[in-house]
């Protein structure tokens, strides 16, 4: 269990994290989402005692991380896979971690095998790919077999096989009753693996809810096709937002498929296709974080035809 209460971090005049309060419960994968600069990494760093909060507290299993004598047995974390001495072998890196927490060297070999790095463990990490470094970081997080796991962008640099592996790993940890907090920019990935999401923007908590609740918050979207789409549009427009997709197809927001079908039937309008449009976490995320994006790009303006011709 991770408990964050009123957590705040101020850098000069910038408030990176602003009065965050949330709990991360055991037995679930909790996704931690937010745009770049939203304060996700800063929050994770404060949870792990790396940065000092300006105000508020962050506790793991009821204790501050900085008070833990053998933290790797309590919390496994991967924040920055690149933070490894390039001249040290992967095995030596993990041996130092193990020694610092009184963990046996045998366990080092076990986790190296678990993440699939056993054959390259004695190679210096400067020869590792980003994916291999991610796996090494994950091995470090697993070293103490901890009940709480914190991962910052764990699928970065992993190939499809690696992504599927980490997905299964996270799911397995949660099913074993462990607490799993994972940040990612890949919404499709989060939608597949997370049970709950925390969404932050500009350091503030925007949402703390189950995936289903977040998707439900978008409302129903229904695609309906009819040869008399114009007439159907008139029937539905009084009850919901209706958008014309093609000459025969409408998208209705705010009504369930059954309601759309009933209204069409009552109006005597034939329906050739009726389906709930799939809601995605990405849409929910974009809706939630709209206005909280720190650095937004703009589409390049098209030069005028005359300019092109010059």
């Amino acid at each position: 269990m991770i408990s964050v209460r009123g957590l705040t971090k101020q850098y000069g005049g910038v408030r990176a994290v602003d009065d965050l309060t949330f709990d991360v419960e055991p037995g679930k994968v909790t996704g931690f989402l937010g745009p770049n600069g939203a304060g996700k990494s800063t929050t994770m760093r404060m949870v792990l005692g790396l940065d000092r909060p300006t105000a508020g507290t962050a506790e793991v299993a009821g204790r501050r991380y900085a008070d833990l004598a053998a933290p790797l047995r309590e919390v496994g974390a991967l924040l920055d896979a690149g933070a490894v001495h390039p001249g040290r072998s992967g095995r030596a890196h993990l041996r130092i971690a193990a020694r610092s927490n009184g963990i046996t060297v045998r366990r080092v070999d076990e986790v190296l095998a678990q993440v699939g790095l056993d054959r390259v463990a004695r190679r210096r990490t400067k020869g590792y790919s980003l994916g291999m470094r991610q796996r090494l970081g994950i091995a470090g997080a697993l070293l103490g077999d901890p009940p709480v796991l914190v991962f910052d962008e764990p699928v970065n640099g992993l190939d499809l096989d690696g992504v599927r592996w980490i997905r299964g790993l996270l799911r397995g940890f949660a099913d074993e009753g462990r607490t799993v907090l994972v940040s990612s920019h890949l919404m499709s990935e989060m939608q597949l693996v997370a049970d709950r999401v925390l969404v932050i923007g500009r350091g503030r908590l925007l949402a703390d809810a189950g995936i289903e609740d977040v998707l439900r918050g978008l409302g129903h979207r229904v695609r309906v096709r009819s040869p008399r789409a114009e007439q159907l549009h008139g029937v539905l427009a009084d009850r919901a937002a209706v958008e014309r997709v093609t000459a025969e197809e409408l998208e209705v927001t705010g009504l369930a498929a059954a309601e759309v079908g009933d209204l069409a039937h009552a109006a005597g309008v034939p329906v050739h296709r009726l389906a709930e449009a799939e809601q995605s976490l990405e849409q929910a995320y974009l809706a939630l974080t709209e206005g909280s994006v720190e650095h937004a790009g703009h589409a390049p303006e098209r030069p005028a035809a005359a300019e092109v011709g010059r």
């Binding site: 005692g49 940065d51 900085a66 920055d80 490894v84 001495h85 971690a97 020694r99 610092s100």
Partner: protein, 251 residues
Amino acid sequence: MSALGWAAAAEWSRIWTVRSSWLLAGATMLVVLGIGTLVGLDASGSPSDVPADASAWDGGRPTAMFALFGVLALAVVTSTADHGHGGMVPTLQWTPRRTVLLAARVGVIVLTTAGLGLLLVTGACLLVWAIVPEVGLGVDGAAEVVGGTGYLLAVGAALAVGLGLVLRSTAGGLVSVIALVLVLPMLLAQLPYDWSLDLATVMPGSGALYLVFGEGPSDDMTTTSARLTLASWAVGAVVAGGWRLLRSDAG
């Protein structure tokens, strides 16, 4: 084992699992033992120039200055290695009690580097004795050289670790330590001002020079003043470095 014991064991592994530590230790060994050999060969070539009461400990004593530079470099490199690659993040994840990390890091690096330096200086003295067996190898000289050199190397290593923790940069640490121990004392002593001479006297390099060769920029210097000067610098650097480690966010 306690958290401090675990942290110390991890620090020991950190030092010896990178090639740069072995290269620096090897280079220091070559220089110190090489100079010990040259001193011995020089003495054996002109035995009439060797004072009657000279001992091998006196012959090997100058190698302490070269050992000091090796110790300073090794201490700076090992204390700053984490900062160069973002390694402080995993280090503080593994040992989040910063006072424990500070004690382990300073303690292990000082004991390891100063111990290595002392071993090499002792080896250089034994080499002199092996080449010129006519010179003695008295116990009194041993206590003075081993004790005095051990103190010099230990406070030098502490100064280097402290600077490393303050600056969090290998290049910055090396430049600073060379400036304090070599460049500034020499430069200040050459300037034609009383204040520069006074300042040169309290530089750590002047203290080191006095402890090894018995000479310094000022006639007022004594063994006690030299030791106090070095200790003050070392304590100041470790306090400042410790303060930064304890108070700052992980870099």
